[in-house]
Structure formats: C-alpha cells, structure tokens
Amino acid sequence: MNFELSDEQLALREAAQDALQREDTVAAAREALESPESLPDLWPTAVAAGWSGLLASEADGGAELGPLDAMLIAAEAGRRLAPVPLLGHLPATVIASGETLAALASGDKRGAWLPTMPPTDQDPDWTVDPESGIERSPAPSLSGNRVTGRVHWVPDAVGADLLIAIAVENGQPRALVIDPTSSGVTIESAKSYDPTRSVAHVNLADAEGTLLDADANDIARAWALGQGLIAAESLGSVEEALERSLEYSKERYTFGRPIGSYQAVKHALVEIYRLQENARSLMYYAGWAGDSAPEEFQLAAHAFRVGATEALDFASRELISVHGGIGATWEHDAPLFFRRAQLSRRLLGGAGSAADRVAGELLTAAVSAS
C-alpha cells in the first residue's frame, strides 16, 4: 500500500515549479486580456524540461512516464495560469506512433490533438464538441486518407506543427496526422474568455492525412488523458485560489477581527479545501488507474474531471468573494482564475458529459454484474 507521490514525482513537481516560475504568468494573463499576442510562448520551456516526450517510450525518444506525472505538471501550469500547450500535445503523443511520435516526443514538432469523445452506454457514436448547443457533433468522416468535418473549441491548435485528428469510417475511429498548412485545413482562432487558453475551430475539407496505427482503445485513452489533464490544471488553480484566499482572510480585519476567524468565511475556505483534497485523491486514482488498471481509467479520469471542476467553480468564486468588491475588478488577479474556471468547465465535452460518463461506467458495470 502506497498511495502518495513517489520521491521521483515530488522531484518532477518541484522541477516544474522551477521551470514555470521564470515568468510571471499571472501578470502575463492580465496583460493578455488587452493584448492576447503578448502571452509568453512556453513551448520552449516544455521542450527544455522534457515534457514534450513525457509519455512516449524511451525507444521513441520519450521519458516513459505515466499519466500521473503528466497531471502533476499540468497542475503546476494551472497553479500559475501558465499557457503550456500540453493539453493539445500530450494526448497527441498517446495516439501517434513511428516518425510522427519521435518528432512530437523530441519537441521538434508541437502536436494538437483534436478532442474526440468515445461512445457511451447511451450514444454509440464518436463525437466532437459542437460550435454551440448541447447536441454533440459527429466526429469527422474518413474516406481513404482524406478527412472531412469540423471540430470546435480545440485547445492549442493555433500554431501547432501537426494535427492529430480522429475520423470515422464505417463506424470505426481511425487516427491521422495532418499537416495544418495543407490544402483543406482551416484553423480559425476563437475568442477565448480565458486569455491564457488558446482555442480554435478546425475545419477539415477533404484534407489529406497519414493514417496512424492507433486503435479505438488508444483513441479513447487520449480522451481520458485529456480529461485528467484539464482536471489537473483546475486542481492547480484551486490550490492557488485557496492559498490566496487564506492569506487575505488572515490579514483583512473587520470589527476588530481577521475575517478568517468568522465561521461564515472559515467554513467556506474549508469547503474549498475539502473539494481540493477530494479532487487530489481522484487525481491519484486516475493516475493509478491509467498505469495499473486501464479498464478503470475512463471512470477515474472522468470522476477526477467532475471533482476538479466542482472544486474550481467554488474556489474561483470564493476567491472573489473573500476579497470583497475589489476581487471583482478588472485589475485584480481573482477574475483570471474565474475566467479559467468558466472556460475549462466547458471544454473537452464539458463537465456535464464527464458526470454522465461516470454514471454510465458504473451503470454498465452494475448491469453486467447482475
């Protein structure tokens, strides 16, 4: 029994903190509200730290680490609202193989995965996020090696060197690598409520790609990893929000007492902490399942997404409330965490579909056990 981080994982986390603190990414986030182009490019940082090949095998030039290691780094990025483009890149490395993977793992090429949701117990189709509305869109279709379809709200696609797309032929998903500059590919940057998060609408009109070996399991695994990474970013943001809320509640006085001494404030801060620690346990669960119990990875990663989303929704609002009116002003940092919470909640299928899949996984297991 050992359900805590290993020494190597603690060291990895510390190294991530060191690498990311070279830039004041929270200040950069505020600046980016006015001028999005001013956001620092942290891809070179990621490559230098070895994160580009984190999940790839050593034979493919990677570090051969696991999902939990990737989530620990994502959490550090989330803590500082740092725009490290791992949400697009790392799931791409789970799907890619051969030369494509080698180029992604070394960091020669930055990949952007086009998030594609596996079927559920209620919906037999592979789907992608729609531009708007609750009806999911069918994944792009495949004919030979040509892909047609639209994928919306894709993280980190703008400026990527390679797209890893999922397209469906005869009901079966196939993965392809597509050159974003090739004919029929349009990547349209979308206006992002969170200035630190680049999102885009990707249109593929008979775009030519190269088929990869990945099977449906690999493609579904990339989806679960994406859930785990965005949840981990949220958990990191929760930790920062709690730290800042605690600090202020100890130094701000009303009626002769620090506001943190009042139960109304104290209990709300403990609620952030409760949600944060529950989410952390779910991150460990997702990491453990990703490595040791792959049949539970979908359940675990989506449960983590549910827990981390709830935690950040609450923590980001509480961070504003604890600070009073000033917390809701343009100049304050609190709204940056709120923006992060609001957009994250709605990407990669949204938090609602994560809760739905948790239920679906459990209900399916219950039916097959009875």
Partner: protein
C-alpha cells in the same frame, strides 16, 4: 501509487483468509437483530468475538502481552477486508476494543490492565463510552456530570450522559466527569471506569428517526466508585479523553468505507430500471455523488499510506465524514426519486434516508469539524472565546445569566 500488499502483508492476508475459510461456517449472519431477538443476536456476536480473539483477529493492534495481535494498523485493515470478503461480521465491541481498551493500555494502572483487557477483548464484557452530554457535545470539555470525593478516597458520580452506544448490554463504561469546577474547564476533569450495573445507573434507549435505538441515555444518581476506578490522574481526565479521540481518528482513517456508502451499491439500485439509467438528470446526479464516493475511497488509501509510514491521518480526515454524509444523502434522495414512495416505506433505502440526518452530527457536528480543520490545518485564526481561563463554576453562572437576561 501501488495498492498491492507487500510480501509480508500478502502472507498475513493468506493466513487470515485460511482461518476464516475454516471457521466462517460457525459465524453469525451479517444482519442486525430481529425485533425481540436482540439477546440471541448479542450472545452469538459475543461468542464470535471470542473466537476471533483466540485467533488474534480481535485487537489486531493490541500488544501481545494483553492478548492482542501485536501488529500494525495495516494488518488491522487486512483483517477488516478479509472479514468483509468472507461475508462474516467483525467483533461486537468495536468501541471497547478500538478506542477504550487502547486508552486503558495507555493510561490505566497495572490492575486495570490485568482485570479488564482480556474480558473486553474476548467479548465477555462489552464496554461503552460515556463522554457526551445533553449540553456538551461539540464543546466536550463543558460536561457537567460531577464526581465528588468521598471520605474513603472513592467518588460519587451524578449526572447524565447521552449518545451511548451499547450501554444497554455493556458491563463497564469509561466516563468523563468533573471533579473540580473551580478551575478552567479543561483542567478539572477526571476519567473513571464505572460498572454499568452499579446502583444508581439508569439506562434508557434513545429511539431515532429510523425507529431503532442505536444509542442510549444514561443517568447517574450518586453512583459510588472506588479510588481504584480512576484512569489517569485526578483532574487530568482531558488528556485521557484525547487519547480515546485519537484512536477514534485512527478508526476513521482505516474505515473510510465502513459506512457502506459505495458508488457501485447506489448505481446497482438504479441500473435495473432502464428508463432511469438513460435519464439525463438521474445520470448527472449519480455521476456527481459517485465522484464524491470514489474520492472518499481513494482518500482512505492516502490515510492508510500515512498509517503505513508510522503516522496518523491528520485532522483533515474528519472531512471524510462530511463527504460521506453529503454523498449518501444525495444517493438516498436520488434512489427514492427513482423508486418512488415505496423506497421510503421500509427496507434498505428507508433506513439509509432516516439514518443520515443524525449521522451529520455524530462524531462531531459538521460545524465543529470545519472549525477544527480551518484552525488546525489551514491556520485560520480562532473565534474569540469567552471561556478561556475562567473557572468552570463561574462560566456556568455567566451562561445562566445569559439565558435569563
């Protein structure tokens, strides 16, 4: 991250499983007593505890010199898991063996240990914990039950205790009393061992929403105990009580799923209704509460890791109960919404739904748990206290004044 046993733990698990395989045919059932049949139920469970004790499967963490297993908390977890795997009940006297025995081992006299520990371990004498009172729960040091010294060195105890599990068939109780009201409230407390059949002890069952009486209220009317009944120093009972509460925290850490609130159990209740299983609202609610319950399970493994490394789960372990109660309330609501009024009428879900409002306050109200975590874990300032450094008798006078003014 590794949930597997070490080779030593695997070996121990195999031993435990072998014993249970050989002996489980003689075990009583898992269900609680039928109405009117409690005596037979308790007799069977006592006998089973005795068999477990002989096999070193009761008091796993007790030192061997007191008849225990002399092993660590992880081995206790292995025993608990294997009992559950075998489908047989564990010991009857969870409170005695889990909390009160260890308190006596830590603070009792040699005579206490010789006299009381073996019969406790074997289930021959069941124990109860007499701490909370009608006017002192969250603020436990505010208890009013008094123990007055007699000329012969003994004491006379008068007062009322409440929420006392197993009092109606317990042989002994560990009781926290006030021996000196003229000092501040944590300082004048003393712990005693009291026979539950002593003259002046009255036990009344306390029925709850479920209709069952899991607790009792216990009245003490000038109950005489000897000087040898004192556990720890006279006026030093608060420290003794803290030991008991420490073992309670350990029990929470190793038994996070002990309430039986598991995501798969609640999913099973819904899965047989295809319309419910396809309903988006049902699925959203199930998904959220299941995520909470999964978090609870894996938080439990984090506590176990702390224990395996020789530590204790921190104060924050108390939040596990908050999550468990919240998720189980949501599960009860959901299942009753799906199954309709019949679910409320009787049976498993009716019991769950009726049990939870009380569990919210059991073992510390949510408000007091949040205060503890806020102050001890997050370092938030305490609220101004009006009872610090004030003799208990004066404090009580002020409280009465507050009520009348």
């Amino acid at each position: 991250m590794d949930l597997n046993d070490t080779p030593e733990q695997a070996g121990y698990r195999a031993e435990v499983r072998a014993w249970l395989d050989a002996n489980k045919a003689g075990a009583p059932g898992l269900d609680g007593p039928e109405a009117g049949d409690e005596e037979r139920f308790i007799a069977e469970r006592r006998a089973w505890q005795g068999k477990l004790a002989e096999a070193n499967l009761a008091g796993v963490t007790w030192p061997a010199e007191f008849g225990g297993g002399g092993r660590g908390p992880l081995e206790q977890v292995i025993v608990t898991q294997e009992l559950s795997h075998a489908g047989v009940p564990g010991i009857l006297d969870v409170i005695g063996v889990g909390m009160l025995g260890p308190t006596i081992i830590a603070h009792g006299t040699e005579e206490h240990k010789q006299r009381y520990l073996a019969p406790m371990l074997h289930g021959d004498e069941v124990w109860c914990q007499l701490f909370s009172e009608p006017a002192a729960g969250s603020d436990l040091a505010g208890i009013q039950t008094k123990a007055v010294a007699d000329a012969d060195g003994g004491f006379r105890i008068s007062g009322q205790k409440v929420w006392t599990t197993n009092a109606h068939f317990a042989s002994y109780g560990l009781i926290l009393t006030r021996t000196n009201p003229e000092v501040s409230k944590h300082q004048g407390l003393t712990m005693f061992i009291v026979p539950m059949d002593a003259e002046g002890v009255t036990i009344r069952p306390l029925r709850q929403i479920t209709g069952e009486a899991e607790f009792n209220e216990v009245f003490f009317d000038d109950v005489k105990v000897g000087a040898d009944a004192v556990v720890g120093p006279v006026d030093g009972g608060w420290g003794v009580g803290l030991t008991t509460l420490l073992f309670e925290r350990l029990a929470i850490g190793v038994g996070s799923e002990g309430f039986g609130y598991r995501a798969d159990r609640f999913a099973n209740a819904i899965a047989s209704d295809p319309a419910a299983a396809a309903n988006s609202d049902v699925r959203q609610r199930l998904g959220h509460l299941a995520a909470d319950l999964l978090a609870l399970r894996y938080t439990g493994y984090r506590h176990l890791t702390a224990i395996a490394r020789g530590g204790l789960p921190g104060t924050e372990a108390a939040l596990g109960k908050v999550t468990a109660v919240k998720a189980a309330i949501e599960a009860g609501d959901l299942i009753a919404d799906v199954l309709g009024p019949e679910a409320l009428a009787e049976g498993e879900w009716s019991y769950l739904i009726s049990f939870l409002p009380g569990l919210k306050s059991a073992g510390g109200t949510e408000e007091i748990l949040r205060n503890m975590v806020g102050e001890r874990v997050l370092g938030l300032p305490t609220e101004p206290r009006l009872d610090k450094g004030i003799p208990f008798s004066e404090l009580r006078a002020r409280e009465r004044e507050g009520v009348t003014s």
